[in-house]
């Protein structure tokens, strides 16, 4: 009897094992309408820095700030013949001890026509992303700025007409494998793309991509219009199965920089700027991925210019404080300085815990030696659920970039469920 039961148990186990390996491909037949997205819940606590310039400018009167954020992201695509409609929308609700606010927007909403694999025409709002840099993209001329603290954060696109011409020569055996050309028309008016720059311009931009001798090379260009004209080049190449290098270089003309001097005088200067970035990604034998980037922001503030701004805030003079507040978005933007280092180390699945990725990220201002340091734990072991715990320390001396931020520390827990 015991043997019979054991035999039955073995048989059942074997059946279950066999069932586990079933693959019903019909479940994945293509549908004309596709829908998906995620719901993200985030809770964070910030420990505020009472002597920080941005604490004073924001008029806070507390030591900590607790915030809860709920984000709903929806993606939909409908395909009919050579045309497809793509929508990507986000709605967010934020609440902390000071404010409760909600926002919603379409990140993308465009129609795509693909008459041929080598030609695509897109009309509508879309987020083009140019450049090879992980944390910064000086050649990203037609996109909103990336947040180096969260590089995968969805960014709102611009309304445009764009095309993509692709030619592949991989079978020819030559050094040039692929050529792709992406022209872009981006209008700016009273109701369209207002934050891109000066209104009443039809901006023309283009990107030429080459895969030449196993190296990705892009030439990018934006004509004079709502912004000054600019051009750039980027590259990316694998040097071995574990090492990739990349870089970007951009020349920007007629860039306006608004400044405040130590006496509180606001001025504006227009000039040309050169920005560039050099970086690498390296995978060690122990499965640690290192990403390192050096970024030179040609339109950033020098150390003394940043110091002047913080001195004005420190003066305590209400009139000067009001002027500093007026210009603070420029000084308070992410990476407003000139020279930065980005360093990230992530360890894949340590201690044999699969889908677990601890990492640590350093973003440092090389001029004033201030930095932010963010250790992070990411777990993706539950299907369609990402769990992330992240802490951030901001450190720097008086009048330094990260030493004058509103936060001294931050702890954040995020859960994202995909559907």
């Amino acid at each position: 009897m015991k043997r019979a039961l054991a035999g039955l148990a073995c048989l059942l186990a074997a059946t279950a094992w066999a069932e586990d390996f079933k693959f019903d491909a019909a479940e994945f037949d293509k549908q004309p309408f596709e829908f998906g997205g995620y719901l993200e819940l985030k809770t964070d606590r910030s420990w505020l820095r009472r002597d920080g310039s941005f604490y004073k400018l924001n008029g806070l009167a507390r030591d900590t700030l607790d915030r809860n954020t709920a984000t709903l992201k929806l993606n939909a695509k409908y395909t009919q013949g050579i045309a497809s409609l793509k929508l990507s929308a986000a709605a967010e609700q934020r609440r902390d001890q000071l404010i409760s606010e909600r926002s919603s927007r379409f990140d993308e909403a465009y129609v795509s026509f693909k008459p041929d694999p080598g030609l695509t025409v897109d009309i509508g709002k879309q987020a083009l992303k140019w450049g090879k840099g992980y944390a910064w993209n000086p050649v990203g001329f037609v996109e909103r700025m990336k947040d180096p603290n969260d590089v995968e954060l969805a960014r709102e696109g611009y309304t445009m007409l764009a095309a993509d011409f692709i030619r592949n020569f991989a079978d020819d055996g030559g050094d040039l494998k692929t050529v792709a050309f992406t022209p872009v028309l981006l209008p700016v008016g009273a109701q369209t793309n207002q934050d891109f720059g000066q209104p009443n311009h039809l901006n023309v931009a283009a990107k030429l991509y080459l895969l030449y001798r196993d190296t990705d090379i892009d030439f990018t260009w934006l004509g004079q219009g709502s912004r000054g004209s600019r051009f750039g080049i980027d590259f990316s190449r694998n040097l071995s199965s574990a090492l990739e290098i990349h870089g970007e270089w951009a020349r920007l003309q007629d860039v306006e920089q608004r400044r405040i001097d130590a006496a509180g005088n606001i001025s504006s200067e227009v000039g040309d700027a050169t920005s560039y970035l050099l970086g690498l990604r390296y995978l060690t034998e122990n499965d640690t991925t290192w990403i390192a980037e050096y970024y030179r922001n040609g339109s950033g503030y020098t150390e003394s210019q940043l110091t002047d701004f913080h001195r004005v805030v420190d003066s305590g003079n209400p009139a000067l404080l009001a002027r500093a507040r007026q210009i603070s978005p420029a000084y308070g933007r992410a990476n407003a300085g000139e020279r930065y280092l980005y360093l990230r180390a992530s360890q894949k699945e340590p201690f044999d815990i699969v889908y677990f990725t601890p990492s640590i990220t350093l973003i440092g201002n090389l001029a004033d030696r201030s930095y932010s340091l963010s250790p992070e734990l990411l777990y993706t072991g539950v299907t369609n659920l990402d769990l992330r715990l992240r802490a951030t320390w901001l450190h720097g001396g008086e009048h330094s970039e990260f030493g004058e931020k509103q936060n001294a520390r931050k702890l954040e827990l995020m859960a994202r469920y995909y559907f």
Partner: protein, 242 residues
């Protein structure tokens, strides 16, 4: 004179008796997949406690060294696409919005399979046959990577004599360390003259008690324009599905 004739006979006979490893490997490539095809694959990562995570990929390949794979499931990975052109590999993540270069030793799915396994191109494109021997009912091919950019420096491939399909492959690092073992199972007729293993199981001394399985379905011969295998096309791979 007799001795000379015997020696000449041996010299003439020897090449005919020697195994042509390169020809066997070429045949293995074509028996596994047509040169240009599309297919669906399910990857299952199995943890020591039996917990599983599954990924479904739609893949298209052209020629010896061009392949694209699009994630259809789970939802958290849907829309991700990977491209391989020879030694070059890229990953496109919809949220990031642009392709970035990846390396063959990384893994876009986690678990035992790495990018080189998921975006496998013809063995003849990456390896030279260093040695070929015969066992009872199998050939044993020892393969050496053509360049340092190939994920595994050396492979030991056991090939079934009757079907000229691999049964087991051991993958070694340049240091000689065994990285993983692939086991080919469940040979099945996919139609269109394609008969090959429908299951590949793998385990690794580096991931003790973990196992990954790759299941194949809907393998069909299909030709694609070259433009499909380019960075700019990666966000649109879904449009290839019928």
């Amino acid at each position: 004179m007799k001795k000379l004739i015997a020696l000449l006979f041996c010299l003439l006979a020897f090449p005919a008796l020697a195994l042509d490893g390169a020809a066997i490997l070429k045949k293995v490539d074509r028996n596994l997949e047509p040169e240009s095809y599309e297919m669906l694959r399910k990857l299952i990562n199995i943890e020591p406690d039996g917990k599983k995570k599954e990924f479904v990929l739609y893949s298209v390949k052209k020629g010896r060294d061009k392949i694209v794979a699009l994630f259809l499931a789970p939802q958290s990975d849907k829309g991700r696409a990977t491209l391989r052109l020879g030694d070059n590999m890229w990953l496109y993540i919809p949220e990031v919005g642009k392709p970035m270069r990846i390396t063959s030793l990384q893994s876009v799915t986690g678990g035992v399979f790495n990018n080189a396994d998921i975006l496998r191109i013809d063995y003849t494109a990456e390896y030279d046959v260093e040695n070929a021997t015969e066992e009872k009912d199998r050939y044993l091919l020892t393969l050496k990577a053509k360049t340092g950019e190939v994920a595994y420096d050396k492979l030991k491939m056991w090939v079934d004599k009757k079907t000229t399909l691999p049964t087991d492959i051991e993958c070694y690092a340049a240091s000689g360390m065994l990285i993983k073992t692939l086991r080919f199972k469940d040979t099945k007729d996919f139609g269109g003259g394609i008969r090959r293993p429908a299951t590949i199981e793998t385990d690794s001394p580096l991931y003790k008690d973990y196992k990954s399985v790759m299941l194949y379905a809907n393998i069909k011969k299909r030709d694609f324009p070259d433009e499909v295998f380019s960075l700019n096309y990666l966000p649109r791979v879904e449009d290839l599905r019928k």
